[in-house]
Assembly symmetry: C2
Homo-oligomer: 336 residues x 2
């Protein structure tokens, strides 16, 4: 074979390789920058037999915070929207609540007054809307709400406000033998209702803030589990690491978060033996989504913020920062 | 082809069919009686597309009590053996305990005195042996103990005292798309240490009595989860149904138990919509294993008994009773 044949063959290979490579890109909505590289390298290293960073299939556990990591959390967590929007139905069933706080304020629709509701007020509303019914009744109510509710900015159902790049990461990890878990400060029972349809994550792989249930018998003699106000797991901060041990019993090899509430989950993941990777989503895209937390020049906010201290810890400990602005080509599937 | 050829072919088919059928029997250690038939019919009906009893794969949840259902629970639960056998090491680390009760009684080795230990005594011993260390230390101690400990009757490691017919059921259900869970009154962290090796059940599919953990930082700055005495889930009686909701979030389609502590799990399973099956293992084989509970002519005992009332409920509600004596050809893999 002479040299021109070799050159021709080389050119043909290049032509062939380009579309093949594009086709096999598992993260097409990500720009080819450090965050994408870190994820792809982690997956390749931990799934290649013989690689010193190899992780056996049963130990491939991946955990994801939900609000602000898998979908939009501004201006309010979707569960808080649910709680507020359920108040009229609760008051209809118990009319005596109409003139008592905090129900009265919520019914007034006065946004300025509602913004002043205290944590204790929200707890009262949560107990009234999330407990006191059977688990099946609750599931049915949340399903109906999710189908009808619309985000105030995009006017879309909440499950369309998931981040496309993160959906790609979920699918990519699963295709490589990882079990994907949601580990959320939100209600475990709430998120379980839609997690399978929204993220392909079954109920048993959703760890969240959980209240107990009480076993009793209905009028037909059949067992009923009624949702109780008693807190079993506060799945925030240290509770995320504790909740992972309680519900999964293995330490994740890769974890994604975005706020101070995820700090301990990310530390716990990064602190394990062998190959581990912790990643933080930075909300720095005021145009396509929101900018808050330590994004330059933006005030820290109560919802979804991670502090400068957490940002510094991430940098110091080699966690990967995901910039929504720089790392994500597209944020939502509905974008063109 | 003449009739003798046909006869010859027929005979050959019969000869061939016998071993093929034997080979494809998923439950070879079971006698061909009602219990085996009920299990096989349940699996066939729930996994055959188009069958009115079909259950989609994601909903195929099977739950198993452990002690007395998957392995021997007499004369003491293996976890109680662990607690008692850990006492010398605990006293070695804290010599001041040697002269305080109940440690003194356990150290004496006086079986008659040990049999009189109260529930409160056992709780003190459990807190001393199961909590106060990191989850990794605990896992390492239980692993070492399981490798060395021997059952007092058969002188075998506990993981060889699993019931072969139930191991066959676990494998059969998994081969048909069922996720198999242990739902045990025993310690969740304890059972998780050996469940994967012993039953092929990963830690995240073990639901058990659980105490909390506390997140802190070690001297090297790395996160540590320390086992706490605080009870998070008492996975007995109503706690089994509540624990299933907490940890799995779906109602089982098939459940196996053997004692009053499993009553609510079996009721909860049987009470669901669609195809459900609840089964009770009856310990009625004094020769090959033990006979207790409502087995005819035998006294009820504290450990592992199910009452006549539960037996009657099972009969009334169509649960399947598995007689160890009549339904199981072999009980242990080590039997000839």
């Amino acid at each position: 074979m002479n040299s021109s044949w070799l050159r021709l063959a080389g050119a043909a290979l290049i032509v062939l390789a380009a579309p093949l490579q594009a086709q096999s890109d598992p993260l097409p909505s990500w720009n080819d920058k450090a965050a994408k590289k870190a994820i792809v390298e982690f997956v390749k290293a931990t799934t290649t037999a013989g690689n010193p960073k190899f992780v056996p299939v049963p130990e491939r556990i991946a955990t994801f915070d939900q609000d602000g990591t898998l979908w939009v959390e501004h201006p309010l967590y979707s569960q808080v929207m649910y709680i507020l929007e359920r108040v009229p139905a609760v008051v209809k069933a118990k009319p005596e609540l109409a003139n008592t706080e905090p129900f009265k304020t919520v019914l007034s629709g006065d946004r300025a007054a509602m913004a002043k509701l205290t944590d204790r007020d929200l707890e009262i509303l949560a107990v009234a809307t999330l407990t006191g019914m059977s688990v099946e009744q609750f599931q049915s109510e949340v399903s109906k709400w999710m189908a009808a509710a619309r985000d105030p900015r995009w006017k879309k159902p909440y499950n369309e406000l998931t981040y496309l790049p993160m959906q790609e990461v979920l699918a990519y990890l699963r295709a490589n033998g990882y079990k994907t878990y949601i580990v959320t400060g939100g209600g475990q029972d709430f998120v379980r209702v839609y997690a399978e349809k929204t993220y392909g994550i079954p109920p048993e792989q959703v760890v969240g803030t959980a209240t107990g249930t009480s076993y009793s018998y209905g009028k037909d003699g059949k067992p009923v589990l009624t949702k109780d106000p008693k807190l079993v797991l506060n799945d925030n901060n240290a509770g995320k690491a504790e909740g992972i041990h309680l519900m999964i019993g293995r330490r994740p090899h890769i974890a994604f978060g975005n706020t101070a509430g995820d700090q301990q989950m990310l530390e716990y993941t990064a602190g394990g033996d062998g190959t581990r990777l912790s990643l933080l989503v930075l909300h720095d895209d005021a145009k396509r989504e929101y900018a808050y937390g330590p994004a330059k020049g933006l005030p820290d906010t109560k919802v979804g913020a991670f502090s400068q201290a957490l940002y510094d810890e991430a940098k110091k400990d080699g966690w990967v920062i995901i910039s929504m602005k720089d790392d994500w080509k597209r944020i939502f599937a509905f974008e063109k």
